[in-house]
C-alpha cells in the first residue's frame, strides 16, 4: 500500500511484495524493514550503533543508491535491494547482453563512495551487476529475507 511520509527522501518509489511504497527517512516502513534486516545480519554492529543510527544509515543508503540508479537507468533493467553474505546487496540486472565495462566502473565508484560515507558506515553494502540471462536472472541472488525492487520507470 502506498505510504506518504513527512520528510521525503527524493520521493523514492520501490516495490515490496508487488506493492509500491513511497519512503522517507522518518517513520518509513521501508526504512524500518531494512533496518530490521540489518539488525539480524549485522547484529553486533547494529547493536553497537543503535537502532536510530541504523535507520539514519539506511535512509542515507537509499539516497546514494537512488542517485546511482537514476544516473545509470539506461544501463540497467532492474534494481533490487536484498541481502547476501550477511550484508545488504544492491543487485542490478544489466541491460546489455555483453560485458558493460562502464557499468562495472560505475559500480566500483559507488562501492568506494559507500565505503567512505560515514553516515552509511554502520551498514555493510555490496553491489552486483548480473546479465539478463534467463527468465528471472535475479532469482538466485534474492534473499527471502529482503527483496525490494526499485521502479525504474
Amino acid at each position: 500500500m502506498p505510504t506518504t511520509i513527512k520528510t521525503p527522501v527524493h520521493h523514492l518509489q520501490w516495490d515490496s511484495d508487488g506493492k509500491a511504497i513511497f519512503h522517507t527517512a522518518d517513520g518509513d516502513r521501508f526504512v524500518k524493514d531494512v533496518a530490521e534486516v540489518v539488525e539480524i545480519i549485522q547484529a553486533e554492529e547494529a547493536k553497537k550503533a543503535g537502532s536510530s543510527k541504523v535507520q539514519t544509515a539506511v535512509a542515507a543508503l537509499f539516497r546514494t543508491l537512488d542517485e546511482w540508479i537514476l544516473a545509470n537507468r539506461e544501463r540497467i533493467t532492474a534494481a533490487w535491494l536484498t541481502e547476501h553474505d550477511r550484508a545488504l546487496l544492491l543487485l542490478v540486472v544489466q541491460r546489455s547482453d555483453t560485458y558493460d565495462q562502464a557499468l562495472s566502473e560505475s559500480l566500483v565508484v559507488l562501492d568506494e563512495r559507500l565505503a567512505q560515507d560515514a553516515e552509511v558506515a554502520p551498514l555493510r553494502v555490496d553491489t552486483l551487476a548480473i546479465p539478463s540471462w534467463g527468465d528471472a536472472p535475479q532469482s538466485t541472488f534474492l534473499s527471502r529475507r529482503l527483496q525490494l525492487r526499485r521502479k525504474l520507470g
Binding site: 562495472s104 559500480l107 548480473i130
Partner: protein
Amino acid sequence: MVAIAFYEALHLVEAVAASDPGFQQDRAVTHMERREFIYQHDRFKLIRLAYKELHRASLIARYMEGGSRATDHFFAAPNLHQLVVVGWLGTIRRWAASELKVPEIANPAGAAPAKG
C-alpha cells in the same frame, strides 16, 4: 576457470595483507570482510575493479541458472581467457608482485585457455 582465477586473486590479496604488519589486525575472514578491507585501504585501490569483476564472474558462473553458458555469453566466450586471466587476474598478479617485491607471480590458472 573464473572461480579458480578469483580464488587466486583472493590469495594474492591475502598474501599482500599478510606481508604488512599494519594490516594484521584487520585481516579478513569472510568475502564481505575482505571486500571492506580492500575498500578501506588505498593500497588496494588499483585492484578494486579487477577483484570485483573476478568475484562477480565467479558468482555468475557458480550460482546463476546456466551459469557456465551465461558466463561464456556475457563475457564474450572467445575473449574470456583474455578478459579474466590476462586482464583482471593479470592486473592483480602484477600488483601483488610489486607489493610483495618479487619479479613476478606464477601463472597456474592461466597456463591455457579453459572454459567455465
